[in-house]
Amino acid sequence: MLIAAAVAVVVSMALMLARAIMGPTLYDRVLAVNSFGTKTVLLMGLLGFLTGRPDFLDIALLYALINFVATIAILKFFRYRSFQIPLSGRGVGGSDG
């Protein structure tokens, strides 16, 4: 019966992919890619269960972290166009916060 859950997750991944390709703004795409990553984490966990190899959970754990970093990188980069500016309080002005 977990196979049904895996199929549901794959279907939702395909739908998210459609939004990632279609999305008119960049933020729609960021949202879709982030959600796609979360669903991939779930799919990897389910696949690990189904094949009886719980080692796959390490990869799922890894991707849960990497997904977050990639999303933050894209958002920060689109807004500030630089990696140098810290996300400090009180708006940012290009100097250390």
Binding site: L65, I72, L87, G94
Partner: protein, 352 residues
């Protein structure tokens, strides 16, 4: 429906998604979207590798392709453009590249019909050396993860070559783009337009969550490093994950603070140290009378005919070379990131 056919269905679905993403990457014009979709491509590839039971490969693909590549491509976009440049020649006149692509693709598809079935025990890859490795790892090398045994011990030369290649890539990027500090000095002259100061703290949630996550990611990198003997993992993946922790720090707290925490000079020294450690292990084996990177000779020259059931030489040899790989990979990724991120943006505001 039994389980095997449902895995085939999942494979087909994943490969179809790969095809769709590839077509979308070709057709889209915004480079941001392309960078994100190439991250998705690597991610779907990693899931497909997981479905095909290749766990170490999936680990590396997820860490490198979906994580580091996205951040580095964004850094490269700093120095180039935001949209795809439309080609000068019309499509009908580019028949040369089309022919080349179709010919190569056709040849590959024709050759793939000759491949052995998935998991065939009589295929050449599983028959000669592969079977030997699987049979002899418990008695000769020791760790339960045969992939690590092959990577670090049986094929230690190849892994040494890979480590040196990664080091050379870091050196090449540093020579081309410059080290972080010099680029950072340049950037003071042309900085991004500062946004108006607002009294709210927009980013508190991000800062707090990142303060929780960055040490956990670094800790997970060390877990992957030391667990590589027993499960999927090893030096390459651990190095990449550690670099991701440093990149997250730079994203949230700024590049200059991160350069205070992990200096660029330390990163360069770390890359060289990793290669030195790996080569040094090999040289120690030579000095003790064995071949280069033959770990049985790591501590002392073994008496002929003796058998060490603990494989201490192999155990510590693999540990040390994996540490070398971790140092080189993490430091090289950090060097490359500093080189890209330290540059001032070349694009004017109107072009953005």
């Amino acid at each position: 429906m039994n389980f095997v056919s449902s895995i085939v269905l999942v494979d087909i679905a994943l490969l179809a998604m790969l095809g769709v993403v590839a077509v979308a990457i070709i057709r889209l014009k915004s480079l941001f979207a392309i960078v994100m979709l190439s991250g998705v491509y690597s991610l779907v590839s990693a899931t497909w590798f997981v479905a095909m039971d290749a766990v170490d490969v999936a680990f590396t693909e997820a860490a490198v392709g979906a994580g580091i590549s996205t951040a580095l491509m964004l850094g490269a976009m700093l120095l180039t453009a935001r949209r795809v440049k439309t080609p000068d020649k019309a499509g009908a006149r580019r028949w040369g590249p089309f022919l080349a692509v179709f010919a190569t693709g056709g040849l590959l598809i024709f050759a793939s019909t000759d491949l052995p079935a998935f998991g065939d025990p009589n295929s050449p890859a599983n028959s000669y050396v592969g079977k030997d490795y699987i049979e002899r790892t418990p008695s000769e090398v020791g760790p339960p993860n045969i992939v690590t045994a092959v990577l670090a011990s049986y094929r230690g030369f190849d892994t040494f070559g890979e480590t040196v290649v990664i080091f050379a890539a870091g050196v090449a990027v540093a020579l081309l783009i410059g080290f972080g500090e010099r680029a950072l000095a340049f950037s003071g002259q042309r900085s991004v337009t500062p946004e108006p100061v607002s009294p709210d703290d927009h980013h508190m949630v991000l800062r707090v969550v990142s303060k929780l996550l960055i040490p956990l990611i670094a800790l997970y990198a060390f877990y992957v490093q030391f667990h590589g003997d027993y499960g999927p993992g090893g030096g390459f993946q651990a190095g990449v994950i550690f670099a991701v922790a440093v990149i997250l720090n730079a994203l949230i707290f700024g590049l200059s603070e991160t350069m205070d925490a992990v200096p660029a000079g330390a990163a360069r020294a770390g890359a060289a140290f990793g290669v030195l450690l790996y080569g040094g292990v090999g040289v120690v084996n030579l000095l003790n009378g064995g071949a280069f990177l033959d770990y049985d000779y790591l501590f002392e020259t073994p008496a002929p005919g003796s058998y060490d059931p603990h494989h201490w030489g192999q155990h510590f040899g693999i540990l040390l070379v994996e540490l070398g790989v971790l140092a080189t990979v993490a430091s090289t990724m950090i060097v490359i990131f500093y080189a890209f991120a330290g540059r001032a943006p070349e694009i004017r505001d109107e072009d953005w």
